[in-house]
């Protein structure tokens, strides 16, 4: 038993994987949040006919296999892709970089966030917005003092969902960002590598435990904050 426990240690590469996972998930979630709020608002309150199309596009990553999403991203951001060529002019390379890992996670998790935010905003009674306007609040004022606070819970739920999804992101990440220890090798990629190595089971299991613990912590924190919203 003691042997097993001493074996459950993390190598520096593993610690780097955990750190990277957190970094990528945080960045992708935080960067996506303003866009998620904007899209959620548009889909909840917008009246244009293009709504259905935009909703379809946003939901695509949810129904496509992640590797397909990754491949499409590779085609766009790769050195031969439209966006890739443009970014190359500024010396920015997306493929096989941390940026690529963040983009892959952001794209894959975005529909989850938007969905949650949209539902939360639809639940906001439009009357409150009308009232605030008649009391002298302009559009932005009303947005920040009425719409956002009333949908804060849904926004936060969307962020948690996306964060959790990002921690487990594999398919799109491995194709767009590659498996680069210290740069893009997140926990799922590290575990996958270990599963190909005979004798790597112990390391794989250790990382699995870390992954489970992380997810658990996030769940608890998320529940806690959710309850605080309820009371407040």
């Amino acid at each position: 038993m003691i042997n097993e426990i001493t074996m459950l240690t993390l190598s520096p590469q593993d610690i780097s994987a955990v750190w990277l996972s957190l970094k990528v998930a945080c960045s992708a979630t935080l960067i996506s949040t303003p866009f998620g709020i904007a899209c959620g608002y548009f889909l909840a309150f917008g009246k244009s006919r293009g709504k259905a199309v935009i909703e379809g596009i946003i939901s695509l990553p949810l129904v496509l296999p992640p590797v397909v999403v990754g491949y499409l991203l590779l085609l766009s951001f790769g050195s031969n892709g439209i966006i890739g060529k443009f970014l190359n002019l500024f010396g920015i390379q997306v493929v096989f970089s941390l940026t690529g890992a963040v983009i892959a996670s952001a794209v894959v998790g975005f529909p989850l966030m938007v969905r949650s935010i949209r539902i939360g905003m639809e639940a906001v009674d439009q009357s409150y917005i009308s009232v605030s306007r008649t009391l002298g609040a302009g559009w932005w004022d009303s947005f920040f003092t009425i719409v956002l606070p009333l949908s804060a819970r849904a926004i936060f739920a969307g962020m948690s969902l996306m964060f959790a999804r990002n921690l487990g992101e594999f398919g799109a990440t491995v194709i767009l960002a590659g498996n680069i220890p210290g740069v893009t090798q997140t926990i799922p990629l590290a575990i996958y590598e270990y599963t190909s190595i005979p004798g790597g089971d112990r390391m794989a299991l250790t990382l699995c435990l870390v992954s489970i613990s992380l997810s658990f912590v996030i769940l608890l924190v998320s529940e806690g904050i959710n309850r605080k919203f309820k009371r407040g």
Binding site: S127, Y128, S132, R133, T134, L135, G136, P149
Partner: protein, 351 residues
Amino acid sequence: MRLNVELKKRFKDFTLDVAFDLSSSRTGIFGPSGSGKSTIMNLLSGLELPDSGYIRLGNTVLFDSKEKINLKPDQRNIGVVFQHAHLFPHMSVKRNIFYGYKRIKPENRRIDPEDLFEALGITQLLSRDVSTLSGGERQRIALARTVLSNPRLILMDEPLSALDEGRKFQIIPYLKNVFNNYGIPMIFISHSVLEMRMMTDDVIVIEGGCIQQHGKTEELVKKSWNRGLECYVNLINLGSASPYKDLFRYNWGDISIILTEPPDGEENFFELDSRDILLFKRHPEATSASNLLTCTVTDIYSCGNRVRVALACGNEHLIAQIVPESVRELEIEKDAMVVVAIKASAFKKVF
């Protein structure tokens, strides 16, 4: 206040086409559900856009489709009190009340909050939680919130409709208080004749998206504007009362009348059906009615197959409804004197 309005808006199954000029500071818009009352309110406040027309309040043009002027709701300074108070659920009562107030520059704030709270009787509600308030309390808070945002005009869209009968009319003294003290012009929208009579001087009658009538509230009521009303009901505002045997004596102007109902505060509204007023040519020796008043006929007019007689009793006025034969029998004509008998129980308390 002067409000000049011309509005046209087409909906799926109904078109709104109205034009009116208002100069009274207590105007009502009256009509059945679906007649367009709330639409007018939404168009005036800027929450909805008319297809064409103009809105001019005083010297300011709020909307003009030809000149392409359209002020946003937050720029119009028109306050709205809705049927449901719509107090912001994520804010305390205090934050709710001061929401509009905070958005006015300090030099432009005309109204003292403490005074207003007293006028509305809500000082003790300030520390309460929004979710614990009753319907009537919520409406009073909503009114405070609206008044503190310094509006030039307040629109009240069926503010009493969501309250239950008993409480409804308890709020009216508070509302009248506010509008009397602060002199803010008001447009009161409702489908209740009674509310109209109590809150407004002028009224616009609207149906099917068009204006049917526009005039003084009491005049229209007398002419039985509401097709559902078969007879005229007098609305009498009495002050306080003192006990009289097992009844109550009220002061009505300089006349005292006896009622069975006890008073409730300083202002008491009673309804007196015009058919419950008996007319005598001469003073009857004795009757079972507690009230016998000597009045002068000021006007006689027919209404359907009945006749209405307008009476002046001292400085007050009543309308009685009788059959045409009685006019001949009692020789009722303008300036004639009649004796009016009313039972103490005929007066029905409004609230």
